[in-house]
């Protein structure tokens, strides 16, 4: 039934005329579940690159480090030709990555864990860690005159989100409060942010870490009659139009499409030509910022899932 | 003995022929089983039982514990479809898929173990499945005041003076609970009344009332199926006696064919009981007569 069709579609991509890749098999394994807005763009990038080079790319993700490491183990037993992995929790993945390296499978790390990448034997790292991006966001907000910031965490205990808030704290130089909301229930998120703004009127900045929460925060700021400035991570059509309407100051853009596209490109090159880019030094994909100035161009791209 | 498809097997099998019992007038029986059987996994609960329930007649089903009486009842009431044999209602094969079908044909039942919903109040239980309605269209509603009144009246006429019809049935005493079930069946039973050990938990007075109900139902022309272990209850009201033993039928007797004493001894050792009474009290004979 449905399963066969989709499986067919994937294999279809793999068996498409392969000018360069020669039917290689790459696994992209991230620390976010399928459907996460940010990581979906990474997935799109990786799959587009796969199609481009005629290699098969399978994307998997799980927020639980244990399960993520199992996914790596699985890829190793399937003898894939390369593994792309995001290391939010390097320690937990150490053993599995080592297994892949021992099996002579090239590994590229993306997004986070750049500092341990080389130590683990990865050929390179693409992207930069969440705290760098967070720091950038903090600095932008500081420039906008924010003194007291509300950092909205939509998944309690998630390392990446925690790092973003930590970075923002550094960038702003103190005065950051956190708020936990549930990304599955936006009505609730809205009223929680409203509640916080109502009860503490000294808050003059809000940083959200997800585009859907950003929209909720925009509504909340309006509901609470607050003057807080709003910044967010990542893009969506709504976020871009809110930026154009001056409701959102900026969106941190890691250009995560590259974190999908580049490693697949690098692995293809490595496989064919044993190329390593930058001699193993990390390749940075950001941070970029989408503001009112460049929002218009980005808007269309965000709608189609590449920004 | 092969049951299915045969002409009424009971006729030449029971001591009293099909047409010989009291009240038999050649009319089509209300209910009829022909060689019915029921198996639960590896357990044969009922084997090849044929009987008839006629209008204006009380059929008593007698037998030891585990003889299959309740299983037979459940076939008649549409809870179980028979695994073998035929079940006819008004002479036509009945394909009951649920007790609802049986109820719609006017067959009301008091079950031995499928009794009441413990957490629901007395009046809700009483009318469950046949709620009196008022109003029209989307505003049709359960007529609660009427329901309460009816329940209180029906229970009082059974000699049960319930304190509060809102009390959950689960907090009633055993006999009170059974009375509610009986009152319900009597109230809704239109053509056939099936009672599985209705008097087991009842006081002497209440049991008397139930026996009188049975007689009244019979006189109104209903067919009654009555199960009991008490020969003193069975004999006064029964017209025909179906005896089951270990899942099989041991024959059917008309009232004319048995005496009370015979019935008691047929019910597995009634005579024994008399002797037992002696044995039990031998140490201290009653002082007064």
């Amino acid at each position: 039934e449905g399963g066969q069709q989709t499986a067919g579609a994937t294999t279809g991509a793999a068996t498409a005329p392969a000018p360069a890749g020669g039917g290689a098999n790459f696994a992209v394994i991230t620390h976010a579940a399928a459907g996460d807005a940010f990581w979906d763009v990474v997935k799109n990038g990786a799959e587009a690159a796969g199609k481009r080079y005629g290699v098969s790319v399978s994307y998997q993700g799980d927020g639980d480090p244990a399960r993520q490491s199992q996914l790596i183990d699985q890829a190793v037993s399937q003898r894939v030709d390369g593994i792309v992995v995001s290391m939010a929790n390097p320690d937990a993945l150490k053993e599995s990555v080592a297994k892949a390296v021992t099996a002579k499978i090239p590994v590229i790390t993306i997004n986070s864990g750049g500092d341990r990448s080389k130590e683990f034997g990865a050929i390179t790292h693409v992207g930069q860690s969440e705290d760098v991006a967070g720091r950038g966001a903090g600095e932008q907000l500081k420039a906008a005159g924010v003194r007291k910031l509300l950092c909205v965490i939509h998944e309690a205990g998630n390392v990446g989100l925690d790092q973003r808030c930590n970075g923002a704290t550094e960038g702003l130089g103190g005065g950051v409060e956190r708020l936990q909301v549930d990304v599955g229930n936006l009505a609730d998120a809205t009223s929680k942010i409203t509640a916080r703004l109502q009860s503490d009127t000294s808050i003059d900045g809000v940083l959200t870490l997800n585009p859907a929460v950003a929209v909720a925060a925009r509504d909340a700021i309006a509901d609470a009659g607050s003057k807080a400035r709003l910044g967010t991570f990542d893009l969506s059509g709504d976020v871009v139009s809110a930026i154009q309407n001056d409701e959102i100051l900026f969106a941190v853009d890691q250009q995560q499409y590259l974190q999908g596209w580049l490693p697949v490109t690098f692995l293809t090159l490595y496989k064919q030509n044993l190329n390593t880019v930058g001699g193993g030094l990390p390749v940075n994909t950001g941070p970029g910022f989408v503001t009112k100035d460049n929002a218009e161009q980005v808007a269309r791209l965000a709608e189609s899932g590449t920004r | 003995m092969t049951g299915t498809g045969e002409p009424p097997a009971g006729a030449d099998r029971t001591p009293s022929g099909a047409g010989a019992g009291p009240g038999a007038d050649g009319a089509v029986p209300l209910l009829e089983t022909r060689g019915c059987g029921k198996t639960f996994g590896g357990v044969i609960a009922l084997r090849d039982v044929s009987t008839r329930v006629r209008a204006g007649e009380v059929t008593c089903v007698l037998g030891d514990n585990g003889a299959g009486k309740s299983t037979l009842i459940k076939i008649l009431a549409g809870v179980h479809p028979p695994d073998s044999g035929e079940y006819l209602v008004d002479g036509a094969p009945a394909a009951f898929t649920s007790p609802r079908d049986a109820l719609d044909r006017g067959i009301a039942t008091v079950y031995q173990d499928l009794a009441m919903i413990p957490l629901m109040s007395v009046w809700r239980n009483f009318f469950l499945g046949s709620e009196p309605s008022r109003g029209w269209g989307p505003f049709r509603r359960f007529d609660v005041a009427e329901a309460r009144r009816t329940v209180r009246r029906e229970l009082r006429s059974m000699g049960i003076d319930i304190r509060d019809v809102d009390q959950p049935v689960g907090t009633l005493s055993g006999g009170e609970r059974q009375s509610v079930a009986i009152a319900r069946a009597v109230y809704f039973g239109a053509r056939v009344l099936i009672l599985d050990e209705p008097t087991s938990a009842l006081g002497v007075k209440q049991a008397g009332v139930v026996l009188r109900y049975i007689a009244q139902a019979r006189d109104r022309g209903l067919g009654v199926v009555f199960i009991t272990h008490n020969p003193h209850h069975a004999y006064p009201v029964g017209d025909r006696f179906l005896l089951l033993n270990r899942g099989g039928s041991m024959g059917e007797y008309g009232k004319a064919e048995v005496t009370r004493q015979e019935l008691i001894s047929l019910m597995a050792g009634g005579a024994e009981l008399e002797q037992l009474a002696h044995e039990l009290s031998r140490e201290e004979p009653p002082v007064k007569p």
Partner: protein, 348 residues
């Protein structure tokens, strides 16, 4: 002493009980006490919490939760669970938004299609449960997972992203928004119309439960399925109708949220299924079925909403948020239980 026969007159077997005590026995009034405790706790400490603005704020999430909790309560009284209800709110929202923005449907037609799909899902849930007699926990878990996959897979296949937006531009948007996702002023604050829907749904559910034949059947199939069938209750139809009611409520909530945020994520509603059950249980529903009330579930949603927002109003450390929430829920149910224990004695 002579043998005494019971006199006629008043019933000597009833102890006199106060009205208050008798009222407290009702499942919802226990929950009301819990709600009062929680309200008093937060209102005493936060001025904003008890201000009209604050009330409007915490009533808002309570309203959508409450609509679902009431539907789930009916289902639970009928002895079944529905784990797919949360994701179904997302599914209906996605259908509405995708149809209205990518295929040019008017909002109302799009919502109608979404309703039809929701009812179909509810019908299938119910049909599978009554036909296979598998526990609904497992069946709706299957639907839950499958819907989750469909939400993501179909949305990505049709739109290339995991989030669809732009409902604002669709035909009929303003009208639909006013009816389902608008606000009304009261005492100087803007309240969401969803609150009215919540009250309406609760009143309707209470009426059905207490005063109609189907209400009687719901209690019966939840209390003892076999006994209910034996007295002729159409158990299968009742259960299927309950699943469809839940699906209808999910559609209502999904539409309200889609209209309000004008965009829907593919993982919307995920994880809410248990919040609904929690609200119903706080409100006095038994997990084993056969007991509970719609008002109770609505109050349960209120308790959950107040505790959830109140902690934010007090500005307690976000890291400890869950801790306080857990403690609060436990205390509210405990207050409820103590009150009822005082008021009644159960057979044990």
């Amino acid at each position: 002493m002579t043998v005494k026969t019971a006199g006629p007159g008043a019933d000597e077997r009833l102890a006199s009980t106060g009205l208050a005590r008798r009222l407290l026995i009702r499942p919802e009034l226990g929950a009301v006490v819990g709600a009062v405790v929680v309200f008093a706790f937060f209102a005493g400490q936060s001025e904003t919490f008890r201000s009209v603005d604050g009330v409007a704020n915490w009533l808002d999430p309570a309203s959508t939760l409450g609509i679902m909790a009431v539907a789930i309560a009916l289902l639970m009284i009928g002895g079944e669970f529905d784990l797919s209800a949360g994701v179904l709110t997302g599914t209906t929202g996605l259908i509405t938004v995708i149809l209205a923005t990518r295929y040019g449907f008017s909002i109302w037609t799009a919502m109608l299609v979404a309703l039809a799909v929701a009812l179909l899902v509810g019908f299938l849930n119910g049909l599978i449960v009554v036909r296979t007699t598998l526990p609904s926990f497992i069946v709706t878990l299957g639907t839950f997972l499958m819907l989750q996959g469909i939400n993501l897979g179909v949305t990505k296949a049709l739109t290339g992203t995991v989030q669809v937006s732009g409902l604002r531009r669709a035909e009929g948007y303003e009208q639909a928004r006013a009816v389902l996702a608008g606000t009304f002023s009261l005492g100087g604050a803007d309240f969401r119309v969803a609150i009215l829907w919540w009250l309406g749904v609760t009143a309707l559910a209470t009426w059905v439960l207490m005063r109609t034949r189907p209400g009687n059947w719901i209690f019966a199939v939840g209390g003892d399925d076999r006994a209910a069938r034996a007295v002729g209750v159409p158990a299968e139809r009742t259960k299927i109708a309950l699943f469809m009611t839940t699906a209808g409520a999910a559609w209502l909530v999904g539409s309200i949220l889609a209209l309000r945020f004008t965009s829907v994520q593919a993982n919307a509603g995920l994880g809410q299924e248990f919040v609904y059950i929690i609200a119903a249980v706080i409100g006095g529903c038994l997990l084993t079925g056969g007991y509970g009330s719609a008002i109770g579930a609505a109050v349960g949603a209120l308790i959950f909403g107040m505790a959830d927002k109140g902690i934010v109003f007090l500005g307690w450390d976000a890291d400890w948020f869950r801790f306080f929430l857990g403690a609060m829920l436990l205390l509210a149910t405990l207050a409820n239980r103590l009150v009822r224990r005082y008021a009644e004695e159960v057979r044990h």
